[in-house]
């Protein structure tokens, strides 16, 4: 429902205008003006902007040409969606219909409770606000596995359709869709479980399309709605989308720039308010800058890895083949795309290219001497600077630039019979360069069903008197035998309908990046100092301890809790009560959600119900100059 509304809005005016002539103009004859518009002559002229489906070219190209172009654009989106769907099915085939996927930070639980963590009211860092809330609400009406797999599939479909709409001609559109949906970035972020980033990645081309339309005199409403969609995909997605949109629309007129920025801030209130209102702010461990800096995952070093849209900090989430000779294919594909197709992208949207270059620079910053010190200062001292810590995620605009360049390059090669075979080869190079994305990222994604005792533990906690739960053994990540023994963030805090104290430090090989929860830090320090576990937990305000019995340190944890009242016990899980007085816990602050979510909904609602398009329409250059 949401997607339909948001997706339809940007196209409605243009497609409606195109419909009278679409049948006729959709034929090869009708593609004439469109094809002409993609030729060299267009590159240096303002009419070239019309290629991206923006209304600007309408007056210059003439109505017939416009309808032809729009008819083609109308077909490019569905073609891109189809390409994205095929890619999504190829990638997700091993997990579809087989339960939930648990991989690193990707944790979905059955019947997820709406907790203070999801709403941002419990004082935790609002990393997943409001994305998890929206997913959890969907999971109220659909099985959680369906929700998760639907969201993951939507990433590919939205990404493919969005990229395809920005390139003229069906061959180029299909190539752009494939180049944007099949990247190391997608593989690495999927494997590490950053599905909200991927939703933002999928929304980005729609944001760019709407920003281009607004820049050329179209309505601002589609852009605002897509920025709201990006905000729904979380802070990182919103940051990338907003920055890219602002680059595309440009600084002038300042009112439009300020309006877009203000609206973006308003729809991001759901995570901004909890972050600002958090006692002690959101402290960032400076060690995280180096630990989460982009790394080389190809033989071509950091630059080559980032240029080929990989380079995630975590070597465990690099898809197979990145360190092989296939990386050469990836580099050739990117260079060929840029050499043959960057020029029209630059002509269409210099702001997008600027955003891509900026993202590339920020992605590399954590690993470049000199820049890393600047980044560290920003991460540690600037509110919200922590969003830049894992810099490789900021490659999304660069990935879009490369995909659009690939689309233009393929479109250009496809126009001549002699070069058409090379167009086919260039179009499929992303797949040949990264076969490891197929079939669940080379078999590394798997689906599983939660065992019955997990739900039994949840029921036992729900029936127990009020009190906070601690997830033990004290550690952030688990290997669950029923989920393939893959590393995954402990699902217990998401599963239980209680505030759950868990270790939030990020243990890496050689270094631990400290978390932000001061109570968790006290427990960690107490354990390191050899304090008694029950006393330590009670002083931290914990009344119950939920123990994974098949994790490292499980035996020692159980010994430390021996003799305490057992509320639930199974082969894998144990729940005990810690009798006695407990320390105080931070109070929930519902006003945070009221202000954050309420403010965002009000702003979004104002844009949706606004009936006077003139108020949301940018002025065309002609209108601005009075021509």
């Amino acid at each position: 429902m949401r997607r339909g509304r948001l997706g339809a809005a940007p196209d409605r005016g243009r497609l409606g205008a195109a419909s009278p002539g679409r049948g006729r103009l959709g034929t090869p004859t009708g593609r004439g003006p469109h094809t002409a518009a993609t030729g060299r002559g267009r590159l240096g002229t303002p009419t070239g902007r019309g290629r991206l489906g923006t209304p600007t070219g309408r007056g210059r190209l003439g109505a017939a040409a416009d309808r032809g172009r729009l008819g083609a654009a109308a077909r490019c989106g569905p073609l891109g969606a189809a390409v994205g769907l095929v890619v999504g099915l190829l990638v997700l085939a091993p997990v579809l219909g087989r339960g939930v996927v648990l991989s690193y930070d990707m944790v979905f639980v059955p019947d997820p409770p709406i907790t203070g963590s999801v709403l941002g009211t419990d004082g935790s860092v609002p990393r997943a606000v409001p994305t998890e809330l929206l997913a959890d609400l969907l999971a109220r009406v659909l099985p959680v596995a369906v929700v998760q797999q639907g969201l993951l599939l939507a990433v590919f479909v939205l990404a493919g359709a969005g990229a395809a709409r920005l390139v003229p001609g069906l061959p180029g559109a299909a190539a752009a869709a494939l180049a944007y949906a099949w990247t190391p970035y997608v593989a690495e972020r999927l494997l590490i479980g950053h599905w909200p980033f991927l939703l933002g990645y999928a929304v980005l081309p729609w944001v760019v399309g709407a920003a281009l339309a607004a820049r050329h005199g179209g309505s601002l409403r589609p852009l605002l709605l897509w920025l709201a969609a990006a905000a729904a995909a979380g802070s990182t997605s919103a940051l990338i989308a907003t920055a890219t949109a602002l680059c595309v629309i440009g600084l002038r007129p300042a009112v439009r720039f300020g309006g877009v920025l203000g609206f973006a801030a308003a729809v991001n209130l759901p995570w901004i308010v909890p972050a600002l209102a958090r006692p002690g702010g959101v402290p960032a461990d400076p060690a995280g800058v180096a630990a989460f800096a982009a790394r080389s995952d190809t033989p071509f070093g950091l630059a080559g890895s980032l240029l080929t849209l990989g380079g995630i900090w975590n070597p465990a989430t690099v898809p197979y083949g990145r360190d092989s000779a296939l990386a050469t294919v990836a580099l050739v594909a990117v260079l060929a795309a840029l050499v043959l197709g960057l020029r029209p992208v630059l002509a269409d949207s210099p702001g997008l290219v600027v955003a891509g270059a900026g993202g590339l620079l920020l992605a590399a910053a954590g690993a470049v001497p000199g820049l890393d010190a600047v980044l560290r200062a920003v991460v540690v001292h600037v509110p919200g600077g922590g969003l830049l810590r894992d810099g490789q995620k900021l490659l999304a605009p660069a990935a879009l630039v490369v995909a659009l360049a690939a689309g233009h390059a393929v479109g250009r090669l496809a126009r001549a019979p002699r070069t058409a075979p090379w167009a086919v080869l260039l179009a499929v190079l992303p797949v040949l360069a990264l076969p490891g994305l197929a079939w669940g990222v080379g078999g590394r994604l798997a689906a599983a069903h939660y065992p019955a005792d997990w739900l039994g533990l949840r029921a036992a906690v729900a029936q127990a008197p009020p009190g906070e739960v601690a997830a033990l053994p004290w550690g952030t990540y688990r290997r669950l035998d029923w989920a393939g023994d893959r590393v995954v963030l402990d699902p217990l805090p998401r599963l239980l309908d209680r505030r759950t104290l868990a270790d939030d430090a990020l243990p890496l090989s050689g270094v631990t990046v400290h978390g932000e929860d001061p109570r968790a830090a006290r427990v960690s320090a107490g354990l390191a100092a050899g304090e008694r576990l029950p006393d330590l937990l009670r002083s931290a305000g914990v009344r119950y301890a939920a123990v994974h019995r098949s994790q490292p340190d499980s035996a020692a944890t159980e010994r430390a809790l021996a003799g305490l009242p057992v509320l639930f016990s199974s082969r894998d899980l144990l729940l005990v009560e810690l009798p006695g007085p407990t320390g105080s816990t931070p109070a929930d602050r519902p006003w945070v959600a009221v202000i954050g979510l309420g403010g965002a909904v009000l702003c979004l609602g104002a844009v949706i119900v606004r009936r006077r398009p003139g108020l949301l329409r940018s002025r065309t250059p002609d209108e601005r100059t009075g021509a």
Binding site: N314, A420, P421, V424, P435, P507, L508, Q551, P552
Partner: protein, 60 residues
């Protein structure tokens, strides 16, 4: 005797054929390489060792 147009057409067809063949050979070789990588990766997907002293974020 062939006209200039027909000679040009034949030359074009020849060039298209050569171009297609070269692209197909290159694509085929790349597909073969990609398949080999995929097959080798598939044989590497066994469960990692469990019960390491500490489960870290960067373990496979």
């Amino acid at each position: 005797m062939l006209s200039d147009d027909r000679r040009t057409g034949a030359r074009d067809r020849g060039q298209i054929l050569i171009s297609t063949l070269v692209a197909a050979v290159v694509g085929g070789l790349l597909a073969l390489g990609a398949s080999l990588v995929l097959v080798s990766s598939a044989s590497n997907t066994n469960a990692p060792p469990v019960n390491k002293p500490l489960i870290t974020y960067d373990q496979k």
